[in-house]
């Protein structure tokens, strides 16, 4: 009776997926605190960064890259698997290949970052901190993403 055996398996899968959503929610909660307490969500700090007037932002990003790169090298070298024993999906050749999209899209993103002073993570964190006007920024970012989806066939990549 396959139905009888698959039902508990399906339930187990659902429970596992609900559990992982809670883990990601907690991860996000941690990130939201870090974005605010590190001041990377500060418009003042972003202006300071683009004026090369302090090291702080470069220290945060550089520190994150250094720890991430060391860890990724270790994960690759040891052939580590995920918590569920599955292979880790590192970016493939297609994703690694530089293209027009990265430079052109990146420049658009940078223009916005310099004006708004917040990248996507900090938009969410500032909204949570009670800065209501960030809801307008979030809706604008969603509009930007939507228009990209619409224009995608016409844009160079």
């Amino acid at each position: 009776m396959p139905a009888a055996t698959s039902a508990p398996a399906e339930k187990h899968e659902q429970a596992r997926s609900a559990e992982s959503l809670v883990v990601y929610l907690l991860l996000g909660l941690f990130l939201g605190i870090v974005f605010l307490k590190s001041e990377v969500a500060s418009w003042f700090r972003i202006q300071e960064m683009f004026r090369f007037q302090a090291f702080r932002m470069y220290g945060v990003i550089g520190g994150a890259v250094a720890v991430g790169a060391l860890g990724v090298a270790l994960l690759k070298r040891t052939g580590a698997l995920t918590i569920r024993g599955e292979p880790i999906q590192f970016p493939d050749a297609e994703e690694r290949r530089p293209g027009i999209r990265h430079f052109a899209g990146g420049t658009c993103f940078g223009l916005g970052w310099g004006l708004l002073g917040a990248c996507p993570g900090p938009i969410y964190a500032l909204l949570g901190s009670g800065l209501g006007v960030m809801l307008v920024a979030l809706v604008s970012a969603l509009a930007g993403a939507w228009v990209y989806g619409l224009l995608r066939p016409e844009l160079p990549h």
């Binding site: 307490k37 945060v60 720890v67 420049t107 940078g110 916005g112 004006l115 990248c119 996507p120």
Partner: protein
């Protein structure tokens, strides 16, 4: 201990913590950490309108990411309301402060200048350009580039992706143009 949590965290604490998040997401989810894909998932969930970019199973591919950004909002509440005082001033350098005073910014309390980031400021051209124009470009650019600060500048550089290096060069080119040419025009 609580005082240390309430004051701004040094870069050498915050940076490595974000790096650990990259590693955690690889280990726990087997995938690369990125925040701006949440914008695509939200569009796919709410207004796909038959656009190919939004035609996929967002519940299957995006639930983890949407749960994470919901957490970021909650974390923002804790970080901004529970772990801080209302009069916090970001200790930017004197040179930056002088430049911003030159723009006419007077209120340096909080993480963002209240003169520019309020609903009232949205009635001014500068407020519209910063919040609506800036927000739009962040969303449009992040999806065109296939990642933002998290996916390219942090996860992407940590995995030594050439595409991410090019994107980060773009981020800085754009940011420098905004900070040095667009902002002076707007004030």
């Amino acid at each position: 201990m609580l005082d240390a949590l309430r004051s701004p965290w040094p870069w050498w604490v915050a940076g490595p913590l974000i790096g650990l998040v990259v590693l955690f997401v690889f280990w726990y989810g087997g995938r690369k950490w990125g925040v701006s894909q949440s914008l695509q998932h939200i569009c796919a969930a709410t207004l796909p309108r038959g656009i190919e970019y939004f035609r996929y199973d967002w519940r299957k591919d995006g639930s983890w990411n949407l749960a994470m950004v919901a957490g970021v909002v909650l974390g923002g509440f804790i970080g901004g309301r529970v772990l801080s005082g209302p009069d916090d001033v970001v200790a930017i350098s004197e040179a930056t402060r002088a430049d911003l005073i030159g723009f006419g910014i007077t209120d340096f309390t909080g993480l963002v200048p209240s003169d520019l980031f309020s609903f009232q400021a949205l009635l001014t051209p500068t407020g519209v350009a910063l919040v609506i124009g800036g927000g739009f470009l962040v969303g449009f650019g992040a999806r065109w580039a296939n990642g933002c600060t998290s996916g390219h500048a942090i996860s992407g550089l940590a995995t030594l992706q050439p595409s991410s290096l090019l994107a980060v060069i773009g981020f800085f080119l754009g940011g420098l143009i905004s900070a040095h040419f667009l902002l002076p025009l707007l004030f």
